[in-house]
Amino acid sequence: MDYLAFFVTLKLALVTTVVLMVLAAPVAYFLAFYRFPGKSLAEALIYLPLALPPTVIGFYLIILMGPRGWVGGLWAKLTGGSLLFTFAGIVIASVIYSVPFAVQPMKAAFAKIDRRLLENAYILGLSRRAAFLRVVIPNSLAGITAAAVLVFLHSIGAFGVLLMVGGSIPGETKVASIAIYEAVEMMDYRQAGLIALSFIPVSYAFLLLINKLNREVDS
């Protein structure tokens, strides 16, 4: 079995989840609590990766992250290296690909918070940031965990975007889904089957966790 691909996949899913939890939480808070001109446009933009074929996302990411793209150019200036075909590159791709799965559940969880709790927090002297950290986050843990699980699972399953941005470099960008694809191409069904099988208990356990969280939120 290709343990290296399995390891890269888990590492990628973990890094993507951590990065997205940090980046998406303020975005979700802003969308849940504020009205501003162009809000629906901004929201549609955030959810766009859901509606686009992965290859389309991959194509635009290649343009952006290539040496002539502004993200790739900036990366080259800062590090002297290329972003395409690196682990950092597939992390960026995975983050963009999974943004909707982080923002949507967190936004829904934040929107459920009683505004009067926030008012009480302000009366008690908390700044908006402190109220977010001390009131909103602790009262949205089920939604935040659900978002993390969804992002993790979605990152594990990513294929097209990662293949386009990262290629298939063992130990660097070759994730399990690509390893399965390559094994099938080479008619090595045993190898493909082993890798595929290893994901079923992981994904099933995470889905059970989501169901449990959803029940907790509903109650």
């Binding site: 009683d114 009067r116 008012e119 009480n120 302000y122 009366i123 002297g125």
Partner: protein, 237 residues
């Protein structure tokens, strides 16, 4: 220190316009029918809503001045606000709720003792009764050493017996507090029992005749307060 307010605000069905003041150590009860603007006034005092026009001062400190475009945030006003539906933080136990913004956490114990909820410190809000929750909410407000204490129909969701008990506790508390207390209710008995001054608010305006009209229309009203010192009706400037 005197809290003095002048507010104008256009609401959906009427224009709210009133002025009042309340000195430290005194309790001003704002009373009137539902939808008369009482909660809007108390929210404007807290900084949770903004008047269209007005001036709000606490002593020499200006909290709101529409002309000078001053509007102190709720965080900076340092007041205590007891909400009608408690608004305790569900993820914290009663002790942590009360100590949430306490100036001195040691005081929380004595507040809990004073309100008879010491045995409930480790309970979450959903595990205790409405009266116990409201006692905790009062402790939370007091632990912050508020410069002004606002109570917005704090007992309206409680049963009659609990309500009477808490009313007594607030009466006792009055003697100890050195800050102005603004109390909103639609219960005339409660108003007569607690108030030093009463401001009847009807459709956004002070209506001094409202109490008399209501009592004569509903003779039962005001009975419980018989024998209590008659509060002065409305200190309006």
């Amino acid at each position: 220190m005197i809290l003095s307010a002048f507010f104008k605000k256009r609401l959906k069905y009427y224009d709210l316009e009133l002025s009042f003041s309340c000195p430290s150590g005194k309790t001003m009860v704002m009373i009137g029918p539902s939808g008369g603007g009482k909660t809007t006034v108390i929210r404007m005092l807290a900084g949770l809503e903004t008047p269209d026009d007005g001036l709000l001062r606490f002593g020499e400190e200006i909290w709101f001045d529409s002309e000078r475009r001053v509007n102190l945030k709720p965080q900076k006003r340092r007041l205590g606000y007891v909400f009608q539906d408690y608004n305790l933080f569900p993820h914290l136990d009663l002790y942590d709720n009360a100590a949430f913004a306490a100036v001195d956490k040691k005081e929380v114990d004595s507040l809990f003792e004073m309100f008879g909820i010491s045995h409930l410190k480790k309970r979450k809000p959903h595990m205790v009764s409405g009266g116990e929750r409201q006692r905790c909410a009062i402790c939370q407000a007091l632990a912050r050493h508020p410069r002004v204490l606002l109570l917005d129909e704090p007992f309206s969701a409680l049963d009659v017996v609990t309500r009477r008990g808490l009313r007594e506790e607030i009466k006792k508390l009055k003697g100890r507090l050195s800050c102005p207390m603004i109390y909103v209710t639609h219960d005339i008995n409660e108003a007569l029992f607690l108030a030093d001054e009463i401001v009847p608010l009807v459709e956004g305006k002070i209506d001094e005749g409202w109490m008399q009209r209501t009592i004569s229309r509903e003779p039962g009203q005001g009975v419980a307060a018989r024998g209590a010192r008659e509060p002065r009706l409305s200190l309006v400037y």
